[in-house]
């Protein structure tokens, strides 16, 4: 049963040095507040898993939290490169970063397998690309019924999943809606989970198309109003596109980046 606890307490209890951590949210509902708390608590050697490591992982990589990253698209959407990610891969700053690289379809299916309790997922993908040559976790598999050659990816079962949602009730049932990405799959695939929410309410009011994650499937819920900024929480906030554009300048230079993090996050 999920317990509602303050964010600092939840992070201290759930995220340890060396853990594999999946922080999901596909453009929408990205758990920035939780990521910033992980940075403040100085976690190291994390394996960061995320389909679209955008600014949040750029910040965590630049602050030295990560040893490894599993991802499928690492850019600043509509803007350009993630400079801290690039600096880590190209120049090993502030530390070398190992990468395991997939396509969106591959990584989404790895989460589905993890949530389904299966050892791997199968998809019609990757064939003819150079990705299998560089990512050990992409293998060909023959369909036992038709003989067709397909692709297998192993399940992802992170130590911790962290997602952001609109609401929870006091018993820790979580409701989220809008673009739902792979948040449900990430939470159900993980050993432990933290959901930050815009607000904790007495009663969850039904919303069309919403997903409800029952409290008994979650470890902790923490209230973090505005916790998805500069991404957004439909019904509560809009995407701060100006910040995504500004990040290009802030993150380009190591010193400017560190100064910004000291002022706004630490």
């Amino acid at each position: 049963m999920a317990t509602v606890v303050p964010l600092a307490e939840a992070v201290a209890e759930l995220v340890h040095d060396g853990d594999s951590v999946a922080m999901e949210g596909f453009t929408h509902l990205i758990p920035y507040a939780a990521g910033h708390e992980i940075i403040r608590q100085g976690r190291r050697d994390l394996t960061l898993i995320r389909m679209t490591p955008d600014l949040l992982y750029d910040q965590m990589i630049g602050m030295g939290c990560a040893r490894r990253m599993i991802f499928s698209w690492g850019g600043n959407p509509g803007v350009g490169s993630l400079h801290r990610f690039r600096d880590a891969v190209q120049n090993r700053w502030p530390a070398p970063l190992e990468i395991e690289e997939h396509s969106h379809a591959g990584l989404a299916n790895a989460y589905v397998a993890g949530a389904s309790g299966l050892p791997f997922a199968v998809l019609r993908g990757y064939r003819g690309t150079d990705l299998p040559a560089h990512t050990a976790n992409i293998k060909p598999i023959t369909c036992p019924f038709t003989g067709e050659e397909l692709t297998a990816v192993p399940a992802i079962n992170p130590d911790v999943a962290v997602v952001h949602a609109q609401r929870a009730d006091r018993r820790g049932n979580v409701q989220l809606w809008g673009i739902t990405g792979v948040q449900k799959e990430a939470v159900l695939a993980a050993r432990r989970s933290l959901v930050t929410v815009e607000e904790v309410v007495e009663e969850l009011e039904p919303r069309p198309g919403a997903i409800v994650l029952p409290g008994w499937a979650i470890t902790h819920v923490s209230e973090a109003p505005g916790g998805s900024h500069p991404s957004y929480s439909a019904g509560y906030s809009t995407r701060d596109n100006d910040f995504y554009l500004a990040w290009d300048e802030i993150s380009r230079d190591r010193e400017t980046f560190v100064a910004w993090m000291k002022e706004h996050v630490l």
């Binding site: 698209w73 998809l123 560089h134 739902t180 990405g181 995407r239």
Partner: protein, 242 residues
Amino acid sequence: MMTVAAARRLRDGQSCFVGIGLPSTAANLARRTSAPGLVLIYESGTIGAKPDLPPLSIGDGVLAETADAVISVPEIFNYWLQPGRIDVGFLGAAQIDRFGNINTTVIGPYDDPKVRLPGAGGAPEIAASCREVTVIVRQSRRAFVDRVDFVTSVGFGSGPGDRERLGLRGSGPRTVITDLGILEPDPVGCELVVTHLHPGVTLDQARAATGWELAAAPGLRETEPPTPDELAALRELTGRKP
């Protein structure tokens, strides 16, 4: 011209899996001009998005609010893209080669890259599974290379028959639109050849911006210049702040 030419290639009523950036701008222009019934699909899970301004990212709120349906990311790839339900995949590229293979991963060696790019995202499976693919990319020797440094998304592999051998279901890149003209695969050899040059562009200019010996298709034509309506729609679209 590039955006207008790309928009014209999309037909009314088609479903189009849109990448962010130039493809998204062109697809939104098409929806405002020649293809009002174009179904825009973004990998964030929005089907039938009708944004009134160009989104900065594939998950902007305006896409979800105006969509016919909003579904999860596993669903968009497994239920919609993989079975071949989508007519056109609309992609950008950092590098593209003579056989239409696309690189969005690294420039230089993978383990010691000169430039680390964002990576694959949805592109490999879009390129494999959509019925056809349109690529939009500025033409230069850096981008138009004989062989891409990394095959992120397959065009025609190393030539005729490769797509079939690999079991890729869509027909591959049918159109490559650049700021200089339009390239299409040669029906026999699958190599990209120039079929249209935009007004004022010469064949020599296009060749100078291409890293292989670019051939001209028989009956090479000039692209129709943008109409006042197309220009007005484009200015209205790009004049707005995302």
